[in-house]
Symmetry: C2
Subunit: 386 residues, 2 copies
């Protein structure tokens, strides 16, 4: 767990609160429930209600957004209760049954917080952009490949746009899109809703069709050398911090994708982005390897500063698109030191004044969670390869 | 749950036994564990050992292969214990914590028994045929499509062989491959190991490359009319039993696949197979629609009898390959009535004597479980489209 603490510890506290006594009784089943299951449910106040059968248990809790809520047992042995209002979008959660942290047997499962566990999607005012619609459908393809760097088979997912199989002569740009700490390559296709976001954007003519590669950045990530960042001021990880994954990406993943897919295999048509740890990897790798990518995006994963530009003239000259974003609640909480002292929006303005094509986006009302990153992909994808 | 009881109730009993006191201490982590997790483990006697932290629980059980084993709590609050020896191959299981049936938080999750829950793969003497190897890799593609029959978006997986993207002019035969009752479209790609079985067979020249479509047969399945089968004599479901899924398959799925993939879109290059409920669907649909498929396979899902042949002359004339299989433990237990009175091997011989290309396979030492069906696919795939 230690390797992920850097990325998730900021939001953690362990308090237990009583279930909300005054909730609005308009709960409906979550879209992330297992087939045929009514619970978890969410109401119009964005409270999450769970129900689990545990007739012999002494204590059952709902653990969501770093708060534990006591459930109440009914006469039939079911424990039921609800959380306080949650932010819009996707949240990991778990149950605690007599001290055991376990997934809710009624929900679908997602990988985050270094575990496969429960997830619930709270309806959002803007959820239409990631809804499954009857538009031309791309594909998420599951890929295994040999990694010479790691001497093992590896696993990734590749999104191909709907038109890919209909245009056997056409070649496409590629975005390499990374998950966060404690997550894996399933994050973007599942909780990220990559295919739905891209299919909808392409159908509306708001994004050009491109390939997206979603690989696992955890396996080969070396630990940062030296003491852990203190949290005062923006985290600036050393440039060589992500070289473990960089080696796999540049020597194994990119050549594999260029050989198995109809890519345009040059820097101009290759981008990297990621969330949290994946954004930090994107920052380190694109600064250290400016000849590989021409566009980069960091979602809740740092910024590019004027100091970076001055110390990396090749990056400054060749990077055609720089994008960074945060959830507004992250900035409010000074997560990773951003929003305290250095203001990311000002950093973006400074880059633009220096002649860079830099973009900055704030996801209103969301924290270090997937709704921020769905929205960030939605924004970033509209800028890419144009 | 009632709709699946027909297919899973035969093996269920609810007894609790003490954990095995004399086990061989050569346990190694299961290949189905979550990243970084040591448990569950399996030893050379094929016993499954689990370990879960539940410091306040009064009782924790391992529930596997229809037997519940009491675990024992250690001084640190972990509950540990093991099952009796299991058959080779994949098994669903769950934990019971103070009366709550929950997934083991250490395992990967699979859909079966009408739930997403834990799975463990017990090493098998013949596991090489479904091992992930560095051979040319096919792809499992996740597909969404509009169903006019059901007026909704539906979801399936499609396996394309490794050479598919390298031969943009070549067209391929298609196998429609169905899961069992209480399972879904994830069964064959995940616990079935379809891609690994096919990639290995194709690499060895033992199977011709073909496309495999794995859809969800549950949503539209009508209940059989009349009383439930009694279990005396082979179950013979009425021919119209699977028309709900047949309508979706013939009107929506097959045209979608023929439009999105480079198929050879005729009966001669189209097969259907399935396990358990999926085998029963295959039997009913190929008998009722003999002009759609030219090959069919039933894995633990019934047989074709001489009565079927006599009453379905078009099926008898046009079906180029008939395959049925069982696990030897299913026959020992007279599951679904087979092995009592009517012997499936004799039925296959009768079909051959009548001029049919009929094949029969018994998976030795396995029951109504995935190892029987992995082996059945391995056998069936070598016969298909040749």
């Amino acid at each position: 767990m230690t390797r992920t603490n850097l990325f998730i510890s900021a939001a953690l506290c362990f308090c237990t609160v009583a279930a909300n006594a005054q909730v609005k009784e308009d709960f409906v089943p979550s879209p992330n429930n297992q087939y045929g299951k009514d619970y978890p449910m969410v109401n119009s106040e964005r409270c999450v209600r769970v129900k689990v059968y545990a007739p012999e248990a002494k204590s059952v809790k709902l653990d969501i957004s770093a708060v534990k809520y006591d459930l109440v047992k009914d006469a039939e042995g079911y424990w039921i209760g609800e959380s306080a209002p949650q932010d819009e979008g996707f949240h990991y959660y778990q149950l605690n049954i007599d001290g055991a942290d376990v997934p809710d047997p009624s929900s679908l499962y997602y990988y985050g917080a270094s575990r496969w566990g429960s997830g619930v999607d709270v309806p959002a005012a803007d959820q239409d952009f990631y809804a499954l619609k009857n538009v031309p459908q791309g594909q998420i393809r599951e890929i295994y490949y040999w990694s010479e760097v790691n001497k093992t088979m590896r696993h990734c997912f590749v999104y191909t746009p709907a038109e890919y199989d209909q245009n056997p002569e056409k070649r496409y740009p590629v975005l390499y899109l990374q998950h966060g700490g404690g997550e894996n390559e399933y994050g973007w296709p599942q909780q990220g809703r990559t295919a739905q976001i891209m299919d909808n954007l392409i159908a509306e003519g708001k994004a050009v069709p491109f390939i997206i590669v979603m690989d696992n950045g955890t396996w080969t990530m070396p630990r940062p050398a030296g003491p852990a960042p203190s949290g005062k001021g923006p985290i600036r990880l050393p440039e060589n911090w992500a070289e473990g994954f960089a080696s796999t990406l540049i020597n194994d993943i990119i050549p594999m994708v260029d050989s198995r897919f109809r890519t345009i295999a040059d820097k101009e048509h290759r981008a990297m982005a990621g969330l949290s740890m994946g954004g930090m990897q994107t920052r380190a790798i694109t600064l250290a390897h400016p000849g590989v990518f021409s566009s980069m995006g960091m979602f809740s994963g740092g910024t590019i500063s004027m100091e970076d530009i001055k110390s990396h003239p090749k990056f400054a000259k060749e990077m055609k698109l720089v994008f960074f974003s945060f959830g507004s609640r992250e900035l409010d909480a000074h997560m990773f030191g951003f929003g305290s002292g250095i203001e990311p929006g000002q950093e973006a303005k400074d880059l633009v004044a220096a002649g860079m094509n830099a973009h900055y986006y704030v996801s209103e009302g969301t924290a270090h969670e997937w709704q921020s990153w769905r929205r960030s992909l939605y924004q970033f994808a509209q800028l890419l390869f144009k």
